[in-house]
């Protein structure tokens, strides 16, 4: 819903043709999904588990600085792998086609304080369906920030750079609160609803288990290294939180990403839905390792177009999707991680203040004057 609609040059037929071309890309991947893909996710899971066990083993001796450094680094990476390339993608149903009950969206649980079941609802159903629709997609600022000019300013937003920083450090708790819709549900009238209480209890149980593992049992098992292991697990969680927060901020907040009005999605066709995903997401460019560590959310545009395709295929899909962007003269928003993170943070700072008053002269009038 920006002043100038970057898709205005497309006719309805073109949008539907675009939809058919995207459907064809999707079909191609589905038809070729097979043993190699299955081997990929099993290998990633196996590496993650071995890395986590080894790192936790090394941390039993975390009193020795080299052990602390190696163990903490390993555990941080293991936690990032668990949340990003493994958890997020399995919970999207990307691997459900394997029919393996151990690697399935309905049975998977992740190293995160928000239970998989609740996250799936708020993320898969709400965010992915209503991507960037103001008032419908709570991912636009997570309900605590203003990340689009069209969101109403409130004095609370003055503090949003600080809120965003705190949210980054404790991101998994932020997500749990967000999935519980705490802002809405803590109201007196809603607080005692049995449905909300049951969900809050589930989050409580998950937090207790996670905290017990990372901050009690693992340090206790470390004996004399109790305190250093405690510091290590805290650091690993912090690293994971800041990393995933940064990656996710790059998905929809950088400059150039479009937002949409509620009424614009009424009676939306498949082609229009695709177009909204294309204009509402941004990628991160980088090496294979970078794509892997972001759980392939660096291919955010492709992920939003095809949220249930296996993540290891987004790289090849991206080549074809990018060609469609060029064909239809649309802007493919992408950039290296530091640039995109800066862009997203810049927006958080900029929009903490109310919108500047519109200029007296609109750009269109300027042009007329020049022409005259």
């Amino acid at each position: 819903m920006t002043a100038i609609d970057p898709t205005a040059h497309l006719t309805d037929e073109q949008i539907e043709e675009l939809g058919r071309e995207l459907d064809a890309i999707r079909e191609e991947v589905i038809a070729s999904r097979g043993e190699k893909d299955a081997a990929y996710i099993r290998k990633v899971i196996s590496i993650q588990r071995k890395l986590e066990l080894t790192s936790r083993g090394i941390l039993l001796f975390s009193l020795f600085p080299p052990a602390w450094i190696i163990g903490t680094a390993g555990l941080s990476v293991a936690k990032i792998m668990d949340n990003m390339e493994i958890g997020h993608n399995i919970l999207h149903g990307q691997w459900d086609w394997m029919r393996d009950p151990k690697i399935h969206s309905t049975t998977w649980e992740w190293d995160h304080v928000s239970p998989a079941e609740q996250w799936k609802h708020s993320h898969n159903e709400l965010h992915h369906t209503y991507t960037n629709v103001i008032g419908k997609d709570n991912d636009l600022g997570y309900g605590i920030m203003r990340v689009d000019e069209d969101q109403k300013w409130h004095p609370m937003h003055l503090g949003q750079p600080l809120w965003n920083f705190i949210n980054a450090c404790f991101f998994e708790y932020g997500i749990a609160a967000y999935d519980l819709e705490l802002g809405k549900n803590l109201h007196k009238r809603r607080r005692n609803r049995p449905e909300f209480r049951a969900r809050a209890a589930a989050v409580g149980r998950k937090i207790r288990k996670q905290v017990l593992k990372d901050y009690v049992i693992h340090p206790l098992l470390s004996g004399p290294s109790f305190l250093t292991t405690l510091a290590a697990t805290f650091t690993a969680n912090l690293v994971r939180n800041i990393w995933s927060h940064s990656v996710i901020m790059c998905g929809h907040f950088p400059e150039g990403v479009q937002t949409f009005e509620r009424r614009s999605i009424k009676g939306e066709t498949r082609g229009q839905w695709y177009l909204r995903q294309m204009m509402g997401s941004a990628n991160i460019s980088g090496s294979k390792a970078m794509h892997f560590m972001t759980g392939n959310l660096s291919h955010q545009i492709e992920h939003h177009l095809f949220p249930d395709l296996p993540s290891n295929r987004y790289a090849e899909v991206a080549v074809k999707v990018k060609a469609l962007f060029e064909k239809y003269e649309l802007d493919y928003v992408t950039g290296p991680l530091p640039k995109q993170v800066f862009s997203a943070w810049h927006k958080v700072f900029r929009l903490s203040l109310p919108n500047r008053k519109p200029k007296v002269k609109t750009p269109a009038k300027d042009k007329e004057l020049v022409a005259a």
Partner: protein, 355 residues
């Protein structure tokens, strides 16, 4: 404290360390066949039997409880990355010294699993197993006179029985298209040479199909024999009619490999197992809508096939993916149900959902 209680406490502590995973998720990486794991097996060898049949040697996991000769097992194999379950008769004797079991698989045209097992499986592959089951077995007190009436791959359960116990008087009438199509032909003739078996081998390409009514010419005392029959539906239907006609139906035991052929139609009767509701559905309405209109509590999400908020186990029958027209059929297993997205799937013939 007993050692069992102690062990369960230690296990609980381990679970606190491995949460949200279970200790077994880690142990499975290194020891998938250990005691306490889900039942699995490792394929150790694949022996070619005929052009399109092979015997698969499986080392079962520690949890394997053994089988009775004639029973079958369900196996879950990953074909092109997709876990598929099928049932096969055990063809090894119950007392095999090395503890291995074998199944013998005939590749059927367009059979995804059978072709994969016969032609592509490599030793070392880990597969999922279910415990042996089935009533098509030799009784504990062995009958004096036995007849095996088999055709094609229907010989497999009979071979399991033949190999398991040496009985006094055994006749087998076995049909296969040609000599080279007879599975276990060498083993059978070895048994004949040992006088453990009288064999009537019919090659239907040249001899024509067996007419069960004419069985008396091949086995004059057929009606006195405890008979196990396994093969195509035509043979079994004819045998059941023949035995019943002569008033000896109780002597005939049959086993069918493929009970019902799923025909993908234009919609069908949908049963919701848990709520016990049954409704007629056309082939175009998503099962999610069908369930909701019937008042069944259906999970739902985006209603366009992307969020997987609606996945539901398909217990039997077939459904059509409304986006692609692809048919998904229920698995032949009571435990491993295919999960379908109800928001983009319509009934393709009668089907049952677990809701």
């Amino acid at each position: 404290m007993t050692s069992v209680a102690l062990r369960s406490r230690a296990w609980k502590l381990l679970e606190l360390v491995t949460t949200p995973l279970l200790p077994s998720d880690y142990l499975d990486l290194v020891s998938p066949l250990r005691a306490g794991a889900d039942l699995r097996g490792r394929i150790e060898a694949v022996h070619r039997e005929t052009d399109d049949a092979a015997t698969i040697v499986i080392k079962p996991g520690k949890g394997w409880r053994g089988h009775v000769a004639g029973q079958y097992i369900r196996i879950g194999v990953d074909v092109d990355g997709v876990r598929m379950w099928r049932a096969y008769s055990v063809t090894s004797p119950t007392n095999r010294a090395d503890g291995r079991i074998t199944i013998t698989v005939k590749a059927i045209p367009d059979g995804k699993v059978s072709n994969h097992l016969v032609r592509k499986t490599k030793p070392g592959t880990v597969i999922q197993l279910d415990q042996a089951t089935g009533e098509f077995v030799l009784p504990a007190t062995k009958p004096a006179k036995v007849l095996y009436l088999t055709a094609g791959s229907g010989i497999t359960p009979a071979m399991g029985m033949l190999r398991d116990a040496r009985l006094a008087d055994v006749v087998m009438v076995h049909s296969a298209p040609r000599k080279e199509d007879v599975i276990f032909r060498n083993d059978l003739h070895d048994l004949v040479a040992d006088e453990a078996l009288k064999l009537v081998e019919l090659h239907t390409d040249t001899d024509g199909m067996l007419d069960v009514a004419e069985l008396e010419k091949l086995v004059p005392d057929w009606a006195e024999r405890e008979t196990w029959a396994c093969g195509p539906a035509g043979l079994l239907d004819a045998a059941e009619a023949h035995w019943a006609e002569h008033g000896v139906a109780e002597k005939l035991h049959t086993e069918r490999f493929r009970p019902t052929v799923v025909v993908a139609g234009e919609g069908g009767e949908v049963t919701f197992g848990k709520t016990g509701k049954t409704v007629e559905a056309d082939g175009a309405t998503p099962l999610l809508n069908v369930g909701e209109e019937a008042g069944v509590l259906m999970p739902s999400g985006c209603r366009m096939g992307i969020c997987y908020g609606c996945v539901t186990p398909l217990k039997s029958g077939a459904v059509r993916d409304l986006r692609t027209g692809d048919i998904t059929e229920a698995e032949d297993s009571p435990t491993a149900h295919v999960l379908i997205q109800t928001c983009v799937s319509a009934a393709a013939g009668p089907c049952e959902l677990e809701r």
